[in-house]
Symmetry: C2
Amino acid sequence: MLDYQPIDSCFKALADSTRVAIFERLSRGPASVSDLAKPFSMSLTAIGQHLTILENSGLIRTRKIGRVRTCSVDAAGLSRLTDWVAERRSLVERRLDRLGQLLAAEDEDRPISLINKGEIANE
Amino acid sequence: MLDYQPIDSCFKALADSTRVAIFERLSRGPASVSDLAKPFSMSLTAIGQHLTILENSGLIRTRKIGRVRTCSVDAAGLSRLTDWVAERRSLVERRLDRLGQLLAAEDEDRPISLINKGEIANE
DNA sequence: CCAATACTCAAGTATTTGCTTGACAATTGG
DNA sequence: CCAATTGTCAAGCAAATACTTGAGTATTGG
């Protein structure tokens, strides 16, 4: 529980399609290394390396019993991700809300000023 | 709106502390390339490259007026991230809930079986 | 007991990434 | 108009990443 790893280690862990697929698989339930490797045309070693990266990021945890290593999603690690994303989202949306109110409040006052500031999305 | 980029391109875009910092900055409001570059001891070119990566991932959008490129968070891109994370979270938590009910239901029936399946978190 | 099974480790390699520098283009304030 | 501001492009480079192979270690079903 002494991990204060920066958030980008989580993103780094998911910055690869194989690891995303593994994580998606694990969010449906625990699995062994060999199980996880099956869908991929890749050596078991490679999968093991991906799992190490996921584990170090805190997104999954693994436990070896006998010769089988069972992997599962670490709910706490996932929460770190959720929290970060939710925080950004709330910042962005709160700001867009304020902006909407501003635009509604002023009837025909210089609406160009905000566009120049880049506040307004345009396709 | 023709972007069906895989989710890992979002994660890839945030898999770097500089880009995370830029995105955090932008979630507080739009900024120019030079503004974004100020906190970093890095060339403007490098910041431009980071911005290209963020833009291609769909997480931000940029618009050039005159000689100034203004960058802002793309709410739709952020939603893609939010949705993916929320989906995994709900899968994990629903499963853990079912598990809790199972454990509560059986009084002293073989509680070891589930531990062997790796379903139960252990420190 | 022994041959699968299930990993694990070390070393090597091709590709990608995160920068740099230098030259250049476009815009704008005075 | 001209110099400063703001950004872009191309090329190059060191380090990181995503693999590989080959050899080795436990563990376990039959």
